[in-house]
């Protein structure tokens, strides 16, 4: 393991290969993740400054083919139902290609916005779709998507923030709903939502210190990060934990060097890509979050990533920041 380096070219090749696997049964069994997968792949390429490895026009064409004309919003694959998770991926991909105007041109912008807003519930939370699953993931997803579209309003944001604050736990972490156990991925969604709402100051400095403490304890002796106490480390937490720490300005509360090694050891040296842990099968999800973690820590001159949006900073800096001036 002496020679640990980032296998940039191999990772690019791996991501390019993903859409050439239509002869694999697994490709078809994962249709329900396809649009998320495209977002993860595109973002990974952006981080490695290799955006052109995907063909912009065909990606946008695929995104638009996932539009759910019955309910508005985007599904993961043509003919699938829309959901908040995949609607966010669609919007993130279009924003990354500076192509959000296609929504307006095809008269989908209002329907898309309505689809998102219609999933907000009385208590400020969001359901993922009409069948009622509530999770702070969906609050984040909705606020993120609406923020990219520039469609946030106090009527949406204020109750959503109230809901998020109820998910803050005794240990400084956040759960999926009030009363649920802290989980690092939920810390990301809750802090990200507060950041987008410009309401991080709804948490006291003491509360934020506790969050930072709990998050920093996710690093285990080998250098990897876990998502909850006494669980195994996993490369995806390089993103969930680090981005959370970055949002509260405490990125360096873990050891970069140990985490860098852990991520690099999870690379597949032969076919590229990154897995959850060394010697496991790689996938695009762990590949993007491993790379995004390395980018946040400033390694390998990777393209800087926005910890709140998980998109290149060069793109997110164009987003209108809430509260909008014209609202006053």
């Amino acid at each position: 393991m002496a020679d640990l380096s980032l296998l940039r070219e191999k990772h690019i090749k791996y991501i390019e290969s993903l859409d050439k696997k239509k002869d694999d049964y697994e490709y078809w069994l994962s249709e329900h993740l396809r649009l998320n997968g495209v977002y993860w792949g595109l973002t990974a390429l952006c981080i490695m400054d290799a955006k052109d490895a995907f063909t912009k026009d065909s990606v946008i064409e695929f995104v638009m083919s996932c539009w759910d004309s019955n309910r508005g919003g985007f599904g993961p694959f043509p003919r699938h139902d829309s959901h908040l998770l995949t609607t966010l991926s669609a919007i993130q991909i279009l924003a990354t290609y500076d192509s959000l105007n296609i929504l307006e041109e095809t008269e989908k912008l209002d329907k898309c916005t309505e689809f998102i807003i219609a999933n907000q519930l009385q208590d400020g939370s969001f359901q993922g779709d009409r069948f009622g699953e509530v999770d702070t993931r969906f609050v984040y997803t909705a606020l993120n998507a609406l923020s990219i579209l520039g469609k946030l309003t106090p009527e949406i944001v204020d109750p959503a923030v109230d809901f998020i604050l109820k998910c803050y736990n005794f240990d400084g972490g956040f759960g999926l709903c009030p009363g649920a156990e802290s989980h690092a991925a939920q810390a990301f969604t809750c802090l990200g939502a507060l950041k987008i709402a410009n309401k991080l100051d709804a948490l006291t400095p003491k509360q934020i210190e506790e969050t930072g403490w709990w998050l920093s304890e996710r690093q285990i002796p080998g250098g990897g990060l876990n998502g909850r106490p006494s669980k195994l480390p996993d490369v995806c937490y390089s993103w969930w934990v680090l981005s959370s720490l970055a949002i509260i300005g405490k990125l360096d509360w873990i050891d970069y060097e140990g985490l860098r090694k852990f991520i690099l050891e999870a690379q597949d040296k032969i076919k590229g890509g990154i897995s959850d842990r060394p010697d496991n099968e790689v996938d695009v999800y762990h590949t993007v979050f491993g790379l995004a973690g390395l980018s946040l820590m400033g390694f390998y001159n990777l393209v800087p990533i926005d910890p709140t949006y998980c998109m290149p900073l060069s793109i997110t800096k164009k987003f209108k920041k809430y509260p909008y001036e014209s609202n006053n």
């Binding site: 002869d23 329900h32 993961p76 005794f170 403490w213 897995s275």
Partner: protein, 328 residues
């Protein structure tokens, strides 16, 4: 992929897999197309329900098909016998056994229970027994604990009777089996908070509970002084408002001092046996010193700075946090 070992296939094996895959892909795609066509034709019959069963058998993560299944059930509900609903629960249970971490299946099960006609307490009691069993097999399952809280809430509403005391006994059993079960410690915090906030116990009973809890924690930290689950709980218990309100000022200070002395003893033991101090002991000793100071009680000799300097040596991954605390 999460927890899947990386494999290198020989060319021969790959060739065989591709051949087999072509057949599987053909069957799968034909079935999916037929199911989605049926959906588009708005057919909501037992036959179409059968189609969704077949798809979900092959791919339990196909959210769109779960959605269609629910739409079918809503059409059939008025004529369906109770047996139909029981079969539906059976169907999801088979899937959960094979895929205990798939969100969509959990969602569907909850949806079925919530829509079960004339649902009685008994149905939810059965559900509680099921989740007991699930948690006995996978004691940290995040969905399982979330699901348990949902069931308890439902039962409490149906019977108009709190289950806090029974649930507290349950988490005690779980913790006694494995002291590192953070999910159970988390739940312990929720339950003690509920008991206090819902004024369920008389003042003397609440006090008795707090005093017993001090013994319980003391036992726990002596049992495993390296486990952060116990320490996060201890930290909550020592600082939280409930304990402060129930104990008199003097009792509270005595509790902190006793705990301080015990932790110093544990730390000294560790030093003697392993040659190094215990970083969690030091972290919590700092919390105790803070808590003592917050009572206005004079602390004879302050140790926080000394502990922090030691922590930089003992726990270098979190050096920046300790430097931050030192600078305050």
């Amino acid at each position: 992929m999460h927890g899947v070992k990386r494999k290198q296939y020989s060319r021969e094996i790959l060739k065989q897999k591709h051949l087999q895959d072509q057949l599987k892909i053909k069957t799968y795609k034909e079935l999916v197309d037929k199911t989605l066509d049926t959906r588009d034709n708005k057919i909501f019959t037992s036959e179409s329900l059968g189609l969704t069963s077949k798809v979900l058998e092959l791919n339990p993560e196909f959210n769109t098909v779960w959605n269609y299944r629910r739409d079918i059930i809503l059409h059939l509900r008025d004529t369906a016998p109770t047996e139909f609903w029981e079969n539906e629960l059976q169907f999801t249970m088979e899937k959960l056994r094979r895929f205990p971490k798939v969100y969509w299946i959990w969602n569907h099960r909850i949806w079925v229970l919530n829509n079960f006609p004339h649902a009685t307490t008994k149905i939810w009691m059965v559900e509680l027994a099921i989740v007991d069993k699930l948690l006995s097999m996978d004691a940290r399952n995040y969905h399982g604990w979330h699901y348990r809280r949902l069931i308890i809430k439902k039962l409490e509403t149906l019977t108009d009777k709190s289950m806090n005391t029974e649930e507290l006994a349950y988490v005690t059993t779980i913790i006694n089996k494995n002291i590192s079960n953070y999910s159970a410690w988390h739940q312990r915090v929720q339950l003690i908070t509920n008991l206090f906030e819902e004024h369920e116990l008389k003042k003397e009973e609440m006090k008795k509970m707090v005093l017993e809890e001090i013994l319980y924690i003391t036992n726990a930290i002596y049992t495993d002084a390296d486990d952060q689950s116990v320490w996060f709980y201890t930290k909550w218990f020592l600082e939280n408002e409930i304990v402060r309100l129930i104990l008199t000022g003097d009792e509270y200070i005595k509790m902190l001092e006793d705990m301080n002395n015990n932790i110093v003893l544990i730390n000294n033991d560790d030093l003697e046996f392993s040659g190094t101090e215990n970083s969690w002991c030091l972290k919590i000793l700092i919390v105790i010193e803070d808590a003592l100071k917050s009572t206005g009680h004079a602390v004879e000799e302050e140790h926080t700075k000394e502990y922090l300097k030691k922590l930089i040596e003992l726990d270098p991954q979190r050096t920046k946090r300790y430097l931050h605390l030192l600078s305050k």
